[in-house]
């Protein structure tokens, strides 16, 4: 038989827990040395490492056009952009490391195919216009997702996101500009731009994740102030940003049902094809195998270099010790 006193012993939060709850309630930041519930730590590691992996895998679709960019200015901008993505991966791995997970472990999980990254990067980039569509749609969706993360309760993550968001918004403008230039160009360039928008629009909308009623992790993340808006809210926000921009570009968004409901202020849209999303998520997208293989190859081909650097550092440290 359980007495009320026993119940209190089980449910009463510890001082650590109370402090954590108070910080969350006050919308303050949790820092690496603060106590945090295991589930909070686990959720963050999962989210931050997935984000880092997405930056790293996300370099590939665009790197595909570095050597073929059609002008020197575009080549320079594209190189800078893909390089920024490597930098974002580095900040994010560092943020995840503050939670006690080493970078090597995250890298191993990625190349072993055990870690997730954003499914969007499993689509191919057959034309130059894809560089525009990725910037405008994929980076645009990423910004909608990421701006609220600048206020995420975990300090190192929020701060990394501030820096990342600044660069992402630059990337998005570059993508828009690529498409604008194409739409002002020849018939072949305009067709290339529209084709890329047709291919990237739906996958970009899927980046916000499943509808709210089918998103299992969202509620807890919102309670912990990691996530601030629901998937569907963010998706709406994104579409309402795209519609006027598409008009400026002169491209057609490939959804015949897309329409603003004047009463609610919300956009009505066609059903998203989640079957395709789930196929790509399950590893059966057009480029899943190639993306992982390329990362694995770079990792394996570079192993001798990393071993050399580690061995050299070890010898240098040993020599310093002898000298001292």
């Amino acid at each position: 038989m359980t007495t009320p006193a026993d119940l209190t012993a089980v449910t009463e939060p510890s001082p650590d827990e109370r402090q954590f709850d108070d910080l969350i309630a006050a919308d303050s930041r949790i820092e690496p040395r603060d106590w945090m519930p295991d589930a909070y730590r686990k959720t963050l590691v999962r989210q931050i490492s997935q984000h880092a992996h997405s930056e790293i895998i996300g370099m590939q679709p665009e790197a595909n056009w570095i050597t073929r960019a059609p002008s020197l200015k575009r080549k320079a901008i594209l190189m800078a952009k893909v390089q920024d993505e490597a930098g974002h991966g580095l900040y994010l791995y560092s943020a995840a490391q503050t939670l006690g997970t080493p970078r090597d472990e995250m890298t191993e999980a990625l190349i072993a195919g055990k870690a997730r990254y954003s499914s969007i990067f499993n689509y191919p980039t057959p034309t130059w216009a894809d560089m525009g569509a990725i910037g405008w749609l994929v980076d645009g969706a990423a910004i909608c997702n990421q701006v609220p993360l600048c206020r995420a309760s975990y300090g190192p993550y929020g701060r990394a996101m501030v820096r990342i968001c600044k660069e992402e918004s630059f990337h998005q403008r570059q993508g828009f500009e690529i498409l604008l230039e194409l739409m002002r160009g020849t018939d072949a360039q305009r067709a290339m731009a529209q084709d890329a928008v047709d291919r990237w629009y739906w996958p970009a909308l899927q980046m916000f994740g499943p509808p709210d009623d089918a998103s299992p992790n969202s509620a807890q993340s919102m309670a912990w102030n990691i996530k601030r808006f629901s998937n569907d809210e963010l998706r709406q926000r994104f579409v309402s940003m795209l519609v006027p921009q598409a008009e400026v570009l002169g491209v057609t968004l490939p959804d015949p049902k897309l329409r603003l409901d004047e009463e609610t202020g919300q956009y009505e849209m066609s059903e998203i094809d989640w079957t395709e999303f789930n196929e790509v998520l399950a590893g059966r997208g057009p480029m899943n195998a190639q993306r992982l293989q390329r990362r694995r190859d770079a990792h394996e081909d570079g192993a001798w270099v990393r071993e050399a650097a580690a061995e050299y550092a070890r010898k240098q440290a040993a020599a310093r010790e002898v000298a001292a």
């Binding site: 570095i66 080549k75 490597a86």
Partner: protein, 262 residues
């Protein structure tokens, strides 16, 4: 990102190159363009993320140099940097064979970087005193960047030579593979005689180059490679065997859409 836009000074505002100066600017601009094209390949394929960033930075600096130099070269003939990069044929390029050597493994890329960056550092140091104001300004800006490229290459030579047996074996092979292409960099072509005070006489750079290289290799415990000297010929439009493939990739999209702007 502002650096990606050419400043007026570097774009040679008001300065129009003579035919000979333009030819010399093509030597330098093509070397930078071809090396940038090669290094750009590494972004997303480097041995560690830090190197994706570092090699990307170097490639970006080099494309900046190439744009300034090609822009200036184009002023002699009313052509843009893109006309020159995308619409010249292989024999019209002026790059030296060193820059055209394939990436190979990371060791080969680093060996090529060592030679390229030490050469470019000595070249730009002296070109700052050129009587041609545009070339002098480009050299001034590029020198700081090339200094960093040189440091990057030297650090890796030391790590690879002093790391594992495997890394030492690989960097030794790589240096030997790259060395035949060193000589061409220091050859005085007839063009140089016509550009007294404007161009840097390549042969005068050799002693300083050798001093630095000997210093680095001896610190790394490596021998200066010996062996054959490649014919070269890039300054006269005769290129290394892989150049056609490199240009095909560089130019393919631009050439599918003549007259288009991007």
């Amino acid at each position: 990102m502002d650096e990606l836009t050419l400043s007026d000074e570097l774009a040679g505002a008001g300065g129009v190159a003579t035919t000979d100066v333009a030819e010399y600017a093509l030597w330098l601009g093509d070397d930078a363009l071809i090396l940038s094209q090669q290094l750009g390949w590494w972004i997303s394929r480097a041995p560690e993320l830090e190197e994706d960033v570092a090699l990307g930075n170097i490639a970006l600096d080099l494309i900046g140099h190439a744009r300034s130099l090609l822009h200036y070269a184009g002023t002699a003939s009313g052509r843009t940097e893109d006309d020159l990069a995308y619409w010249r044929t292989e024999p019209e390029f002026r790059s030296a064979w060193l820059f055209e050597q394939p990436n190979g493994d990371f060791g080969h890329t680093i060996a090529r970087q060592l030679v390229a960056s030490v050469y470019l550092f000595e070249l730009y140091s002296r070109l700052r005193a050129s009587s041609d104001a545009t070339l002098a300004a480009i050299a001034e800006k590029s020198l700081k960047e090339v200094d960093y490229h040189r440091d990057h290459a030297v650090q890796w030579i030391l790590r690879l030579a002093g790391g594992t047996d495997e890394s030492r074996r690989r960097i030794t092979v790589a240096l030997a593979d790259v060395w035949p292409y060193v000589d061409e960099l220091f050859r005085d072509e007839p063009l140089i005689d016509r550009l007294e005070g404007v161009a840097v006489r390549p042969s005068t750079l050799r002693p300083a180059f050798d001093d630095v290289i000997v210093g680095v290799l001896s610190e790394a415990g490596l021998q200066t490679p010996a062996g054959f000297i490649a014919s070269g010929g890039g300054r006269r439009g005769s290129h290394f065997t892989t150049m056609g493939y490199l240009l095909a990739e560089l130019q393919v999209l631009a050439r599918q859409h003549p007259g288009a702007s991007w």
